[in-house]
């Protein structure tokens, strides 16, 4: 089901959390709300779920105005950063909760719960309590619980934020595959641009309660709407009035008109990728992303003087 967010405003005392925010989420898509902490992304998600009320504006789910509706009547599946597992219930009862509230027959609930536990790879752990699960398992349980009610939309609030890097990468991958199977309209809140780029079809970049840009991961990276998006989504250096990404700097051994002279401070190897940390005459630092082969070809070493030139730069009016 589609989501349409129209002119939402929200204040907490003097702090403006959301300032006239409008976003559209297409049916069946996976949209990421990406921004630094305090940008209002979680507040926006909670307003869509009905867990927070907006001061102004409207939310439509499947073309219906749900602005005044309580969370119970919105048909959203919500996944919390810290799992919000029902600690006194088994995994089975956690997942069954929404169906038990809807007074579905026991046999039907059991069947659905088993099917969901298989989907999130927790079969066999149905009788455990949340305290007996790892963080990753708890969050998968949280997802199964949210999916049990066949939600119109699935909302995830920094779902992998409390997990360690490897589990996070695994679950991210798995979420994407799950979405490709179920096609439930999904919104994920994250401050991790890599996560947003990897799982989402559409990224809405937020800052200080405003939407800075909405587009595909490639669009926001390659055609950033402004300086904030340029620097928040991926790395960027400012060279005079222009911005350039570390992989869009070409290193040469000889000067050539538009190049600037820099010294190599450090060479960092990440396997195939190599990062050069550079300092120019004014002491300004910048880094270049290149490949191992390129670095070897030029026989680069620290302390060496080289010349850089942007191959592609962006200017904002």
């Amino acid at each position: 089901m589609s989501i349409s967010i129209r002119h939402i405003t929200k204040r907490f005392d003097d702090f403006v959390a959301l300032d006239d925010v409008s976003v559209d989420v297409a049916k069946g898509s996976l949209t990421a709300l990406l921004g630094p902490s305090g940008s209002g992304k979680s507040t926006l998600l909670r307003i869509v779920a009905g867990l927070e009320t907006a001061d102004g504006g409207a939310v439509f789910i499947d073309e219906q105005d749900v602005t005044g509706r309580p969370p119970q009547k919105r048909g959203v599946g919500f996944v919390f950063q810290h799992y919000a597992a029902f600690k006194h219930m088994t995994v089975h009862d956690n997942v069954a909760f929404g169906l038990a509230i809807r007074k579905r027959p026991k046999a039907q609930i059991a069947e659905r719960v088993n099917q969901l536990l298989r989907l999130v790879q927790l079969e066999g752990l149905a009788k455990r309590y949340p305290s007996q699960l790892s963080g990753g398992q708890r969050q998968r349980m949280g997802l199964a619980r949210a999916l049990a009610i066949d939600p119109a939309v699935l909302l995830l609030d920094e779902p992998f934020g409390a997990l360690d890097a490897r589990v996070r990468a695994e679950l991210r991958d798995w979420l994407r595959r799950l979405h490709d199977e179920t096609h439930t309209t999904t919104v994920i809140v994250t401050h991790d641009q890599e996560e947003a780029m990897e799982v989402a079809d559409q990224v809405a970049v937020m800052s200080e309660g405003r939407i800075e840009q909405v587009g595909s991961p490639r669009e926001v990276y390659e055609q950033p709407a402004n300086e904030f998006v340029m620097t928040f989504v991926g790395q960027a250096h400012r060279l005079g009035d222009t911005f350039v990404r570390p992989h869009d700097l070409e290193v040469t051994l000889e000067p050539n008109g538009s190049t600037r002279e820099v010294m190599i401070d450090r060479i960092v190897h990440f396997g195939f990728d190599v990062r050069l940390d550079l300092v120019d005459g004014d002491g300004e630092r910048l880094s270049v992303q290149t490949t191992r082969d390129q670095a070897e070809l030029l026989e680069l070493g620290s302390g060496q003087i080289v010349y850089v030139r942007p191959t592609r730069a962006t200017t904002f009016a």
Binding site: Q72, R74, G77, F78, A84
Partner: protein, 263 residues
Amino acid sequence: MGRLSLRVVALGYLTLILIGPLAMMVWRTAEDLDGAWAAITDPDTVAAFELTLKVAAIAVAVNTVFGIVCALVIVRGNIRGRGLLNAFIDLPLALSPVIVGFALIALYGVNGWFGWFQRNGFEILFATPGIVLATIFVTLPFVAREVVPTLREIGTEQEQAAQTLGASGWQTFWRITLPSIRWAVVYGVVLTTARAIGEFGAVALVSGNIAGQTQTATLRVEDAYQFAYGNYAPAYGISFVLAATAILILVLMIVLQPKGTRH
């Protein structure tokens, strides 16, 4: 060495202050078991125990419900004045029970604001309702005091998750909130029960102290002591039952304390 002497000091202190008097009482009870037994099985004593249990049951029931409600308002409510409520709820702990009893006499006495009841034959003072009111007053903080920190600790996320899954406020309370705070409630109930059974000062003023009618177990101990005329066996016997009940409650509390869920 230092640790050992600290332990000796602590244990010695407990023995002198707590165990000593109780041990002496048990000893005296044992000296005249027949006299003690006769006093315990006296119809007026049985009536006193019945009244104490009845009053305690009502006070526990009322203060459990309102204790949970107050805790919810203190922790979750976004109304003004919840700070005041939080401070106010401890008032019975600070106030002398005698003053509580006296204040109730002032309020419900024939010339008090609520004197209408007393004047029109709905006796509150010197009758069971007065005893119940006094007991409720002094036992008010215990459930709320236990539940407040637990409610803070569990946070609101589980309740919000239940809501998104379709649970109404009422369903969320019964299925999520109450099970999460159940041990705090149990603990509060146990403390309330112990305090209700042991209350003396406030009850002494409002009860009228009529043997077999408005005399609670603690009042009966006081009576048996005042009018002992050299025979203290009845006072020891009834005291022993009350003390044994208190210790039983204490043991119950330790047994109920689930591993790991309480500090």
